[in-house]
């Protein structure tokens, strides 16, 4: 198929931009040379980090998959009381950034330091990434399949295992992959818990040598690790077809009767919500009260909030603007080149902010010193880091807007521009908006890239929060934590609503 030239050019530029950090690391590694690379990578410390990172990623993915799926099944498929309320409560931890969850716990008890605490906290922070897609899929399944299975003599457990679970596979695997990628790049939460992984080690290397070889070698390992995760997910997903002809009957499944299991189910979900939402929020409130007596710098708080919100909006707009053409190309003009361009926008996914930032520092100084330490460069960094979030949403939205409608609009005498504006745009806008919200949420809580790239004097909620937490001034950090949650809450609510309406 012939590609429209301008679109292809635009998409190539986006793909190139997204691949910049990866290309930089590859170039750097070649530059450093084999023997130095070997010296920096084959040493006991890297072995320890590999074990730690693997334990956390595997444990976190498995636990999130189990917890997210179980919670989604209880909410969507049983006669659990107050299901709508549970749905909101279970999705709400998305509004609490992982480093705030970590802060909430570690400021109460140092017992959460180390592997078990880290696992607990990352699962509490990230299980909604499995819960939401699995819940949406459960809602979209035609119950007829299950009813057939039951009528053919399968019990309810075996029906779930042999009929429902296979259909949930893409959602569970996709959600778990997201959890894994987040964990590879997670910094703040783990640093507070004194659980070293590749990403926290890269930060230590940055502190000791800025953009030195050791940091870049560790980043290289992280990229390989990310590749392994993505390939594993693809191969586990297999080549099964999950779609079917016709959408089936859209009706709610007969909810499973929990009976006496209602009590443990409610207790279990209650415990999850209490640990994921209750403890961090209670902790923030407690420190707010403690801190209020000493310092409540209204001016700083307002500036940091405005800056975070402004950067979030600008970052979201820029990222969506870059993602949309690539998503359009991938959906409307599928082919090998389109796939290649689309995939290359995912390359920065598992790279921690610090690696992307260091790359951009070096490159901008060499190539374009005028943008160094400007908001422009910071926004570019956000776009590179969060393109995949916007891509996923934009792709899904464009895929659901049938091209035939464009043709109809054209046939009815609309100009192409007008047809696009009046027919296509309204169809894809909600999906693209969801992508923008995801990017906004990510930017508001982004820490390390912001620290490195922002103009001198620019402070965001995340950087202020981090600076206070570093001084173990939990009281002074609390207002920033509260504001980050407050800023994230409306976006998260919008997101749970759009997911609810979704397919």
């Amino acid at each position: 198929m012939a590609y429209p030239r301008p679109l292809l050019l635009a998409c190539s530029l986006v793909a190139l931009l997204a691949a910049v950090p990866l290309l930089f690391i590859i170039g750097y590694t070649i530059d450093v040379g084999w023997s130095e690379t070997w010296r920096l990578l084959v040493r006991p410390r890297v072995g320890d980090l590999l074990v730690n990172t693997t334990e956390l990623v595997v444990g976190g993915m498995l636990a999130s998959a189990v917890l997210g799926t179980a919670a989604a099944w209880l909410v969507e498929r049983t006669d659990l009381p107050l299901r709508r309320v549970w749905h909101v409560l279970l999705a709400a931890p998305l509004a609490v950034p992982a480093f705030v969850v970590s802060y909430g716990w570690v400021s109460l008890t140092p017992a959460v330091e180390g592997y078990r605490g880290a696992l607990l906290i990352v699962v509490l922070a990230y299980y909604p990434l499995v819960y939401l897609p699995v819940g949406a899929t459960l809602r979209g399944l035609d119950p007829a399949l299950e009813e057939s299975a039951r009528s053919l003599g399968l019990g309810s457990w075996r029906t779930f295992a042999r009929v429902v679970l296979p259909q949930l596979r893409p959602a569970i695997l996709g959600g778990s992959l997201l959890v894994g990628l987040h964990l590879l790049a997670e910094f703040g939460a783990l640093q507070m818990l004194r659980f070293p992984t590749f990403t926290t080690a890269i930060y230590d290397q940055y502190r000791s040598s800025f953009n030195g070889p050791a940091a870049n070698m560790l980043a290289g390992v992280l990229v390989l690790y990310c590749g392994v995760l993505v390939v594993t997910e693809l191969s586990l997903r297999g080549r099964h077809r999950y779609a079917r002809l016709g959408s089936g009957v859209s009706r709610t499944a007969e909810p499973a009767r929990l009976g006496w299991l209602t009590v443990p189910a409610v207790a279990g979900l209650g415990a999850v919500v209490a640990l994921a939402l209750g403890v961090p929020l209670a902790s923030v409130v407690r420190w707010l009260l403690v801190g209020a007596s000493t310092a409540f710098p209204v001016g700083d708080l307002a500036t940091a909030t405005a800056t975070a919100a402004g950067l979030g909006l600008a970052g979201a707009l820029a990222t969506v603007a870059l993602a949309s053409p690539v998503a359009w190309l991938a959906v409307r003009h599928p082919g090998r080149i389109a796939t290649l361009l689309e995939r290359s926008t995912y390359t920065a996914n598992a790279l921690p902010g610090i690696v992307v930032a260091l790359t951009l520092v070096t490159l901008s100084l060499r190539v374009l010193p005028a943008v160094y330490q400007t908001t422009t460069l910071l926004i570019i960094a956000y776009a590179i880091m969060f393109l995949p979030r916007a891509m996923v949403a934009a792709r899904a939205a464009i895929a659901q807007a049938p091209p035939v409608l464009d043709d109809v609009a054209l046939a009815l005498g609309n100009s192409p521009m007008r047809a696009w504006r009046r027919v296509t745009l309204p169809l894809i806008a909600p999906g693209i908006g969801a992508g923008a919200i995801l990017v906004f949420l990510a930017v508001v809580t982004e820490l390390t890239a912001t620290l490195l790239l922002s103009p001198t004097g620019t402070e965001t909620l995340a950087t202020q929060f981090w600076s206070e937490t570093n001084d173990i001034d939990y009281g002074a950090a609390a207002p920033y934590a509260a504001l980050m949650v407050a800023l994230s809450t409306p976006a998260t609510l919008l997101l749970t609503r759009s997911v609810r309406r979704g397919p």
């Binding site: 410390r45 320890d48 004194r194 502190r207 000791s208 520092v361």
Partner: protein, 336 residues
């Protein structure tokens, strides 16, 4: 939907506008300071400087070594005019890369010789002492080590806290390297890698000693004194031990300030360095409650502190501490 979009766009524009106007305000001259010292302390000193000279100073904060390497990477395009650190190895790093301008004689004359490197390209403006801290319920008096080198011995396995990733501890290691030489330092670091519990920074390490998570740690003195002066909440179960005897662990670290060759405001930058090291600047430091030592011999140090002269520190050339070598050795030992 469309209305919501318009509202969002208007909001975005408004927020960006306020954000931008907040950045670019002011008419007089503004210096950019890359600051690795504690922000609170530096802000107090900046405020006093601005009051005296009318020159504004904008701070970009970070750690010693990261900022030093950043300055080197920025080279001629560095936006920084002045650089201030917590410890001298980062100053030496920039100095050896040719990043500093020469200070004028009057400024150098304000600072005692031992706090100025032989190049004369930067000056010390504050000092801090290494200290061994311990929780008396877990470490008895007779268990207190006589030298920092003892911490590599097997009896300290899992019992000593250090902030290995931070510039403070790395400066202490650079003193060990200067006093004991490379083979002994490498061996010591290997032992420490077995023994140490790693904390993010000195405050976290002190807090862990206070709560009994780790019996002892090596930090700088002022964290304890500051906490005592405030609530004592994080240091009430912590006692200090200075190694003295010119032990490497009695190292006194010098915070330095210098002006960058890349700066196009040399005169103002020189004024800032001159102010920090002047009697007036040193008095601001002493009165700030930071409880670091002043370097000027004319300004009396806070009476709560043990006088510097009583700490019997090893004699180390302030311009000789080798940060990159320390990082390499610590990487080899597995601490980084």
């Amino acid at each position: 939907m469309r209305k919501a979009g318009r509202i969002a766009a208007a909001l975005a524009a408004a927020i960006l506008a306020t954000g931008l106007s907040a950045c670019g305000s002011g008419d007089g001259k503004t210096l950019t300071l890359y600051n690795a010292q504690h922000k609170d302390l530096m802000q107090v000193m900046i405020d006093a400087f601005t009051e005296q000279t009318g020159i504004k100073v904008e701070m970009r904060s970070g750690g010693d070594t990261a900022l030093a390497n950043q300055i080197i990477q920025e080279g001629d395009s560095s936006p920084a005019d002045v650089f201030a650190t917590e410890n001298s190895p980062a100053m030496t790093l920039v100095d050896r890369a040719g990043g500093f301008s020469h200070l004028d004689a009057a400024t150098i004359g304000q600072v005692p010789d031992q706090y100025v490197p032989s190049t004369g390209n930067w000056a010390g403006f504050a000092a801090r002492s290494t200290v061994f801290i311990y929780n008396p319920s877990q470490v008895t008096e007779d268990q207190i080590p006589t030298s920092i080198m003892d911490l590599a011995k097997p009896e300290w396995r899992g019992r000593i806290g250090v902030a290995a990733g931070g510039a403070d501890f790395q400066a202490i290691v650079s003193a060990v390297l200067a006093v004991e030489g490379e083979p002994a330092t490498a061996e010591w670091l290997a032992g420490l890698d077995h023994n140490a519990k790693i904390y993010d920074n000195n405050i976290a390490a002190m807090r862990a000693v206070n709560t009994g998570q780790v019996p002892a740690a090596v930090i700088y003195h002022y964290y304890w004194y500051q906490d005592q002066a405030e609530s004592g909440e994080d240091s009430k179960n912590v006692k200090l031990h200075f190694f003295r005897n010119q032990d490497a662990g009695a190292f006194i670290s010098v915070s330095g300030v210098g002006m960058l060759a890349a700066s196009d405001q040399q005169a103002e930058a020189q004024q800032f360095v001159s102010f920090l090291t002047s009697d007036a600047g040193q008095r601001v430091l002493v009165d700030s409650g930071a409880l670091e030592y002043a370097v000027s011999d004319k300004v009396p140090t806070n009476p709560a502190l043990t006088p510097l002269a009583d700490l019997d520190a090893p004699t180390i050339d302030v311009g000789s501490l080798n940060g990159p070598k320390v990082v390499e050795l610590m990487q080899k030992a597995g601490l980084l």
